[in-house]
């Protein structure tokens, strides 16, 4: 399948910046953006949103445990259980996907987030070379994998 245009994928870069800056008031540094090839090694906590309708595929947000803990602490959440950490990374994925939909079209459907613990990211669901954005927030690394393609 044909992958998304670069301009459309920039939406996700903007969404990543906006999410962390609004939520934590700590800016995000985008460290790289590239087309992924083969298996992708992410971080420990992963939130995944599935797209359907005119776009098919998924968007994954991957963060190390310490980053998710820090984000919860900034929001004054002190119960740093695995369930809360997974919930948080799922909510970040939901927010990035929802915000990007504003530009992708309201006919695009997004799922409720699912969450996975473990560094292996299941890529190439929709396109051969998913778009990978790496970033640094508050000294911690993070990654967003945009694996989307027009349906059909």
């Amino acid at each position: 399948m044909e992958s998304l245009k670069e301009s459309e994928l920039r939406l996700f870069i903007d969404s990543v910046r906006r999410y962390f800056e609004v939520t934590s008031r700590v800016p995000v540094e985008i460290t790289s953006a590239y087309l992924g090839m083969g298996a992708l090694h992410g971080h420990e906590f992963n939130g995944i949103v599935t797209f359907s309708g005119p776009l098919t595929g998924q968007v994954t947000v991957s963060l190390p445990m310490r980053a998710v803990c820090e984000l919860l602490l900034i929001q004054r959440e002190t119960k740093l259980t695995e369930a809360n950490l997974l919930d948080a990374v799922g909510e970040i994925a939901n927010t990035l996907a929802g915000n990007a939909r504003r530009h992708l079209g309201s006919e695009v459907d997004i799922s409720v987030p699912t969450t996975v613990r473990g560094p292996r990211i299941d890529t190439r669901q929709a396109c051969r070379h998913p778009y990978v954005i790496t970033f640094r927030w508050n000294t911690y690394p993070g990654l967003v994998c945009v694996d989307l393609a027009p349906t059909g």
Partner: protein
């Protein structure tokens, strides 16, 4: 005024609860939290909330299905939608279904306080 918080994310529910319990919205008391639309309807039957914060993307029953059902049973309740689906057509759809305000995610504490304050004033 009694507030019910509806969101499938525990992080968001807890954050809204902390902001409200912090006292910046003096007259508002948290009376319940729900993680989807069906749970929200059950909670509303018990607590008869004056105000509801409502997420849209949720399992079981989503926010757009819950808004008219909740207002049918509690017509005086005021609903603030808080959602990452921040496109204009979704916001208009929520307002046409009877929601009274729309706050896009991500949001700051101040933005939430302002939005809830507006609903409180209108209710009063």
């Amino acid at each position: 005024m009694k507030l019910l918080v509806v969101d499938d994310s525990n992080m968001v529910r807890s954050r809204i609860a902390r902001i409200v319990q912090g006292g910046a919205l003096g007259a508002v008391t948290l009376v319940g939290m729900a993680r989807d639309g069906a749970e929200a309807l059950r909670a509303a039957r018990q607590a008869s909330p004056d105000l509801v914060t409502m997420d849209l993307t949720m399992p079981e029953m989503d926010g757009l299905a819950c808004i008219p059902a909740l207002l049918a049973a509690h017509p005086r309740t005021r609903i603030l939608v808080i959602s990452a689906l921040d496109d204009k057509s979704t916001a208009i759809r929520a307002l046409r279904l009877g929601a009274h305000g729309f706050l896009p995610k991500p949001f700051t504490d101040e933005a939430l306080q302002l939005a809830l304050h507006g609903l409180v004033q209108h209710k009063a």
